[in-house]
């Protein structure tokens, strides 16, 4: 029996590995065969990560959902997925009641689904940058923000706490040992992907502290963490202990601290 459901392949914004399908109409028990037939027709010769754009779907029955689940399995077997985008609030809440949110990822729109795909599947890094005044009162807010981002991006609470500690230490150092200037902010950049987080903090160097800092940086790069515990620079020793890579670059112009921490290490 023919129904009013329509399927159309749409532009995937040049995103390799993705097929965008726009679906419209009523997804009822009568449309099961059409859903299965459509996805069977694209499973072999289209990229297996399917974004189903559903903003023009007016109803979604549980039997139709079952058909989507069967189709999804075929894409998953090809290392892809089937996700939903643009569902109305009504349908989203209905799918949630059916428990579908445990199986299908749901995104507000196609662009959000593409962003998630490039992050999760392609391993693209996302960047957050912050320029802030050289004052200690901002550091707690910054450490918590980065921790929240790490948690949101799927890092464990243990990872998030360690990342938070690193950010706290590096930013505190930048404020305490950098030049105090109301005209020059401290620059923090955080690159996050599904495997690691990279933190970089750049501040204006304090001319009176440059030599001492250079000596400290060279100690950090040459000594084992256990040898540093009783000397100055315990904060840096802590950062070194919690990170997979620590690079410090000090010049008359500025001081840059670059830290890499891998997920789950």
């Amino acid at each position: 029996m023919a129904t009013n459901v329509q399927f159309a392949l749409s532009d995937s914004s040049g995103c390799e590995g993705v097929t965008v399908v726009t679906i419209s109409g009523e997804l009822t028990s009568a449309s099961i065969d059409e859903i299965t037939a459509f996805f069977s027709s694209i499973v072999e010769d289209h990229p297996p990560y399917i974004i189903a754009e559903m903003s023009n779907v007016s109803s979604f029955s549980s039997s139709a959902l079952g058909s989507f689940m069967g189709s999804r399995q075929r894409f998953v077997e090809r290392e892809g997925d089937l996700v939903f985008a643009g569902l109305t609030l009504d349908l989203k809440s209905k799918l949630s009641l059916l428990g579908a949110h445990k199986i299908f990822q749901v995104f507000p729109d196609v662009r959000s689904a593409l962003v998630a795909y490039t992050y999760e599947k392609k391993g693209h890094s996302q960047m957050v940058t912050l320029s802030f005044p050289s004052q200690l009162r901002y550091v707690p807010s910054i450490r918590q923000m980065i921790s929240r981002i790490a948690l949101q991006k799927g890092y464990s609470s243990r990872d998030a706490f360690r990342i938070e500690t690193i950010v706290d230490e590096v930013c505190n150092n930048a404020v305490e040992h950098g030049a105090q200037s109301s005209e020059h902010n401290i620059d923090l950049s955080v690159g996050i992907d599904s495997k690691k987080i990279e933190i970089k903090v750049i501040n204006l160097s304090n001319p009176e502290k440059i030599e001492a800092l250079k000596e400290l940086a060279s100690t950090v790069s040459s000594e084992a963490v256990s040898d540093m515990a009783n000397k100055r620079g315990r904060g840096l020793a802590l950062i070194k202990m919690l990170s997979n890579d620590l690079t410090i670059d000090i010049s008359n112009g500025g001081t840059s601290v670059h830290v890499v921490r891998r997920k789950g290490d």
């Binding site: 957050v128 912050l130 949101q152």
Partner: protein, 151 residues
Amino acid sequence: MSTTALRQTLTLCFPSDLGYIPAMRKFVADVLTAHNFSSRYIYRSEIIVDEVCHNAVMYGSKSIEAEIVLIMHLTEDTVEFFVQDEGGSARDVQQLKSAVEKPRLETMSPGDGKIGLEIVKMFAEELDFAVGEDNLTSVRIVRKRDISEAK
């Protein structure tokens, strides 16, 4: 020396992705807490930031690489927010323009989709927007500290 002259600026840039917004609104709240604004002021500012950033992600971002820039200028008694996005379709920009320019407290019909900006207007002393080169769109919101508010 007047402390109102001391202006501090924080510039935050993050991917145009709804997942980042809770962390950003909490960050704004934490910064305002550090500046001793009242909890009511902070909560209202959080709502503003949430709403404007949400709009920027949903209607002001076209590419996968789109970013949102959030700038906060803080003085002793004023906070100025700038939220900049890469700009949406001509229709989205026009909708934003009419929502911003519409007189405050104009009768709203439920479900017309602009209630968020109405709330922003209600909480802010100033709200305006500009479309710059390359369609970059920025919304500016000014809030003043209410000295009568209990901390």
